[in-house]
């Protein structure tokens, strides 16, 4: 067994152990461990360095391939940005901070394992590993009962969906006699040939739809985002979605257009984007707004999964990275605008262009990217999705998706409108941001623009990942 294949996971595990040691022995009143940001950024480089690793481990249950390495890189980027963002979190007591980062790290570690799992039970274990730490993270918001409410909601929903997924798993095992995805590919997946397996897989997918907040498993998203602290919400809204996408991409290799399960995916995608966008129109709380927007974006990702082509999977992979970046960008601005960690309403953005010109511009880039306006990455990602699915039996889904852009523009634009054109609150307190934060915000915005203008190299990586599954 080549231990070098596991470099990203091992590095993350070391990080967690170091945080664990620090939480036991270090002086707790100091607050944030100062070495952590550097260590988290180093993790990104470790993942980037092992992009080319390929191999199979643990009795074929754990596969290191293009797809898994791409997602490990994305998860590590997400973790590093979240750590930088969560420094000096106003709603978190100092003595809890080390534990907070440790739990975040555990969750990210679980997602990394998830990216490489190619056996259904391993998948399930990795998924739970990443979820359990989130159950503990969400209520961590000082003096806010809504956080506890959000935590309870997340746990109850999560437990319920896990039960359903496990139930589905039992059907798949009973009917197909294997839990290895590689072996499942060769089995029949139409309802006439294997009804039990189709029902089972659909239920099993439900577990990941829950993570992705796809309709009708989305009910938790707006409430949890609203209740959790801004910094926690920025993690919950972005990084765990990657884990769901990677599993769906792996399982989508089983599907071809026209199958019952593929039709269900397409239908849920269409309903999810329409419902998410319509519900977001009415939101005033920015985190709720982004919550519904994430429901809509979960729908867009389905476009790539139903096409049954390598290009479609590559588009879904690429889009999930874009989704991560543009949401992190928006959440980052929300965290910085929030004074003392309260929730940010749309009206709190008024006059932002004057109080914090840098943040206003970064927010505009993030919001326009979420709409899918060129020249941002949101547009490129959407273009890849639309191109991949056209003429594969789901043209109607393309039409629904582009029409949804028209619905969604209103609420994304209203973020920019409040920041740039409302004249109220111009003399409000100027928002000071540290040079590090300014650099991070700028880097996120530039990344969103660069991926939009020059998507070539990232798309090649995504394509390699897609072709690894569907040659």
């Amino acid at each position: 067994m080549n231990i070098g294949l596991l470099a990203p996971e091992l590095y993350q595990l070391l990080l967690i152990l170091a945080l664990f040691a620090a939480s036991l022995f270090a002086d707790k009143d100091k607050g944030d461990p100062l070495w952590l940001p550097g260590a988290a950024i180093a993790g990104v480089f470790v993942c980037a360095a092992s992009m080319g690793a390929r191999g199979v481990l643990f009795y074929d249950a754990y596969q290191v391939d293009g797809l898994s390495q791409f997602f490990k890189l994305a998860v590590s980027i997400g973790y590093a940005v979240t750590v930088l963002n969560a420094l000096n979190q106003p709603t978190l007591e100092k003595e809890k901070r080390t534990d907070y980062y440790m739990l975040l790290g555990m969750s990210a570690w679980g997602l990394m394992l998830l990216a490489s799992s190619v056996e259904l039970i391993t998948l399930y274990l990795a998924l739970e590993l990443s979820s359990y730490s989130l159950y503990a993270l969400i209520p961590l918001r000082k003096g806010d009962p809504r956080a506890a409410e959000a935590g309870v909601k997340y746990i109850l929903f999560g437990a319920m969906v896990t039960a359903i997924a496990l139930y589905g798993l039992s059907y798949v095992m009973a009917s197909q006699h294997t839990t290895y995805i590689a072996a499942l590919v060769g089995k029949p997946w139409s309802f006439t040939a294997a009804p039990m397996a189709v029902v089972g897989l659909t239920l099993f997918l439900g577990g990941f739809f829950y993570k992705l907040a796809l309709f009708p498993f989305h009910f938790w998203a707006p409430d949890v985002y609203q209740g959790a602290s801004n910094e926690t919400a920025s993690y919950v809204a972005t990084v765990p979605k990657l884990g769901a996408v990677v599993v769906l991409v792996r399982l989508a290799a089983l599907l071809t257009p026209g199958m019952e399960i593929t039709n269900i995916l397409a239908l849920l995608g269409a309903v999810s984007m329409t419902f998410g966008n319509l519900a977001a129109l009415a939101q005033k709380d920015l985190k709720r707004l982004l919550g519904y927007s994430s429901v809509a974006h979960a729908g867009y990702v389905m476009l790539g999964l139903v096409s049954g082509t390598a290009a479609g999977l590559a588009a879904a992979v690429f889009y999930s990275l874009v989704y991560l970046l543009m949401n992190l960008t928006c959440f980052f601005v929300i965290c910085k605008v929030s004074d003392g960690g309260e929730n940010v309403q749309l009206n709190d953005l008024c006059g932002l262009y004057k109080r914090a010109p840098m943040l206003a511009m970064v927010l505009a880039v993030g919001a326009f990217a979420l709409v899918g306006l060129p020249p941002t990455a949101g547009f490129t990602g959407k273009l890849f999705l639309l191109t991949s699915v056209w003429e594969h039996g789901y043209n109607w889904l393309v039409i629904v998706a582009v029409l949804n852009t028209a619905i969604s523009i209103y609420y994304y634009l209203s973020m920019v409108r409040h920041a740039y054109t409302k004249e109220e609150n111009l003399d409000g307190p100027v928002i000071k941001i540290s040079p590090v934060n300014a650099a991070l915000a700028g880097a996120l915005a530039i990344a969103v623009l660069l991926l939009g203008v020059m998507p070539g190299s990232m798309y090649d990586l995504a394509k390699a990942a897609g072709q690894g599954l569907l040659p």
Binding site: P375, V402, T405, I409, Y410, Y420
Partner: protein
Amino acid sequence: MADPGYPVLSFLIFFPLVAAVWLFFVKSDGFVRAFTLVAGFLEMLIAMPLFGFKLGVAKFQFVEFHDWLPDLGMSYNLGLDGLSLFMVMLTALMLPLCVLCSWTYIKKRVKEFHFCLLLMTSACIGVFASLDFVLFYIFWEAMLIPMYLLIAVWGGPERRYASLKFFLYTLAGSTLLLAAIVAFRHAGGSFSIPELMQGNYSFKFQFWTFLAMALAFAIKVPMFPFHTWLPAAHVQAPSAGSVLLAAVLLKMGTYGFLRFCLPLAPAASVYFAPMMIAISIASILYGGLIALGQKDVKKLIAYSSVAHMGFVTLGIFLFNLRGVEGAIMQMLNHGITTGALFMMIGLIYERSHSREIADNQGLGKYMPAFMFMWGLFSFSSFGFPGTNSFVGEILVLVGAFQENLWAAFLAVPGAMLAAAYMLRLLQRMTWGSPSSFKKKTWTDMSGREWLYLIPLAVLVFYIGLAPTLALKTIDPSIEKVLADLSAKNQALGFSKEMSLAELMRLPAPAANVRLAEADETTQTPAP
């Protein structure tokens, strides 16, 4: 074509972007203005090699080609032909003029204003110069953001409403265009426009893609039922914003019809032509009649734009040389004349702080220079012989009489209406009483104001009296578009007498039609 030694179109697109980034490091407001003005003149200098455009050839010139994302058939492909050349020149000319006409008009957030102006210029040139469908779409959409900000931040009292309406309308319209682009990618195997033009598509495909594209373009033009965003946006936008809207943005719609609908969906274009002609005539008459009843100068000019653009779309869907010539000339002329009128409205607004006719009347005695220029552009606006618009309108009408007597008869009153509303406005502003002139605070035109109106006045007469050069420039491209259109329709077996059900069964011809002139500029790498 003399080789200028640098990629002209890329420079035209990226120079304003670079200047916009530089603008961040400029501190004082005065210097921001001067800096952008210099950038504007440089932009015009960069555009100089465009005068080396070779006459008498239909193929694309100034072509630039770089791979962008070959996997998906995306490329960075720029080029100009007779359809787009004048639009690029006009856009480059408008940048310094817009800076000049906003010199005292814009008082707040000066740096951001000029930032938006520069972004607009870059995106607009990109729209006209792109030969790749995705690249085109990127510029087409990117242009919305600075235009939105121009209206929403520096506009009149109802700017928030107007800007939102503008954004929602135009974005909603272009979403289906994206679906059409994706569909063409599959049917034609590429995003490259010259390559797609070579292809033939089944009637059913053309039918749906035409509708998707036409919706986007009709909203942008704007054509009659989709025009409601325009008066709101025009009235609320600051002077420079209105100028850019009128001179450049509206042309994108008609340019889209010429560049995409006619070559890519030729049979559907002919099939829908009666409807498009009817809508155009409705726009001409409706725009004219509504303009007749306006009390607000800016609104009047905005509705006159609807009417003028009606002439453009009418000319395009006649499918004869005169009609399309007239349409392109009218696109250029409307940009020059209406652009100038909007600048002058900004000029007088700075003095009267009102756009009502009643607050700006009786100026003939006190501001002779202003009224002279206003009169000149008003005459140009209703197509007085000797001015530029006459050339455009007469060509469209000649084309209409050749093609369809009824359409032509219905369009003529439109031309008369234009004279009615412009003369009514001119009369009130010159001799209306009581005069709203205030001795202490109002002055006649200043040197700076002369400076930005003179170039446009010269163009009014130059094109009005000597249109031959302009027509020679655009003719080969138009002939190619029209010849390709009929060749493709013949190959498809399309005829106007067939019923829709029959047409829908027409498959795409097996072999590609030999087009009027093989485009040597299609630099696609060998598959």
